[in-house]
Amino acid sequence: MRSFVARRALAAAAGVLLALGAAGAFAEQQATQQQPAAQQPAPQQVAATNEAEISIQSFQFVPAILTVKAGTAVTWINRDEEPHNVVSPDRVFRSKAIDGGEKFTTVFDKPGTYNYICAVHPHMRGKIVVE
């Protein structure tokens, strides 16, 4: 059991590295936001359960890149006062407005890389990697 978990974690980490490599342009966009380095969100996070959470705060998705297993329910929680939403450009998923304090949850069944933005503030970008 222990080794299984470890193997899975390794695989997930590799997936994240690939995702980061493919996201060079994304990283550049983040860099233009003039945020103090200390406020930058951790760029990645590996979720090992069937539920994962992304915080929307100060007009950023935290973490900006999230790696999950297929079948994971991902919940965005808006901690800003300003409303946001999440939408993938190819419409794989799209939320209504998520007002401050509200949540939106969707389940990722199929492996793949899902870029998304907030359509209200298109400089806000995030990515879900489903393994």
Binding site: Q39, P89, K96, H121, P122
Partner: protein, 310 residues
């Protein structure tokens, strides 16, 4: 906006006045000889030519927003409507440059439509990104522009001026800022083709057409192409909202004018970590909201007067 609370050390009276000087809500524009000007709602109106053509711009009502920056956006929209009704020279029509609602909710559209019935003149709308959340503007267009074809852009002529309503909030999913898209730009080129260069042109849209602050989405990516079709005209005025403050820029024959909100101010470009509602002392809120009056007087420059709601 957490960074600009009244108790913020940087937000002293002088700082507030500085913000106020920058901010604006509804604008009344006067087009004189093709050059508009703006009026703030709290100020004395500048004398306008008796024979000029006058219309009003309001913007960013954000009906449904009820947080600390303005707990009653219905009341401030109503104040703007009242102000329009009391203008010494009744405007010929009204433009609303978007963000009528805050969250694109049906009840918000209902409330906004009900309040805006208080405007006697025709209102021509373009959507803001807050009006098209989650449905590509379906509710917005059904409610405020039911006769428009898909896309939502249009033009009309009034008072000797060619008005172009453009939509730059439906490309957010692919662009990092506002955008018109190829189909709309193609339409614009054709729409302008038959006009003489002396025709005053007023373009109204939601997001600024010049890059005020692209990092916050305060820009329209493909605006340069639109401007390439507009530059041959002797007088072009671009009216927009989105950033909740009055900012003006002149570039050759093109004058850019962003308007006050009727709901809440936003910080100046780049001040603080992000755009969003900026809190000011409640008794000063209406000083940073407003409408715009535009007078167009033939053979003279258009005069723009921004008027605060105070």
């Amino acid at each position: 906006m957490d960074t600009q609370k009244p108790d913020h050390p940087g937000m002293n009276r002088r700082g507030l006045l500085k913000c106020m000087a920058w901010a604006g809500t509804g604008l009344v524009w006067t087009v004189s000889g093709g050059v508009p000007r703006g009026i703030a709602l709290g100020e004395a109106f500048a004398a306008s030519a008796a024979d000029g053509f006058t219309f009003v711009q309001i913007s960013d009502s954000h009906i449904g927003f009820n947080k600390e920056a303005n707990p009653d956006t219905n009341a401030t929209l109503q104040a703007a409507i009242d102000r329009i009704g009391k203008l010494p020279k009744p405007p010929a029509m009204v433009l609303h440059t978007g963000d009528v609602t805050h969250l694109s909710k049906p009840e918000e559209f209902d409330t906004a439509a009900q309040l805006l019935k208080g405007v006697k003149q025709d209102i021509h709308y373009v959507p803001g990104e807050h009006d098209v959340i989650g449905d590509d503007g379906k509710q917005f267009f059904e409610r405020f522009a039911p006769k428009l074809k898909t896309g939502g852009w249009y033009s009309f002529d009034q008072g000797g001026v060619h008005f172009v309503g453009m939509v730059n909030v439906l490309t957010f999913e692919t662009a990092k800022a506002g955008g018109f898209g190829a189909e709309q730009l193609e339409w614009l080129e054709k729409d302008l083709k038959g006009l003489t260069a002396s025709t005053p042109v007023v373009v109204f849209t939601h997001v600024p057409m010049w890059p005020i602050y692209p990092q916050w989405g305060w820009a329209t990516e493909d605006a340069p192409q639109a401007l390439s079709y507009l530059k041959r005209f002797g007088s072009v005025t671009v009216l927009n909202g989105h950033i909740h403050q009055v900012v003006q820029k002149v570039e050759g024959n093109v004058t850019y004018q962003t308007a006050f909100s009727t709901a809440f101010p936003q910080p100046k470009a780049g001040e603080g970590p992000a755009p969003g509602p900026m809190k000011v002392p409640p008794d000063q809120l209406r000083s940073v909201l407003g409408i715009r009056e535009i007078d167009i007087v033939p053979l003279k420059t258009a005069a723009v007067t921004d008027v605060t709601l105070a």
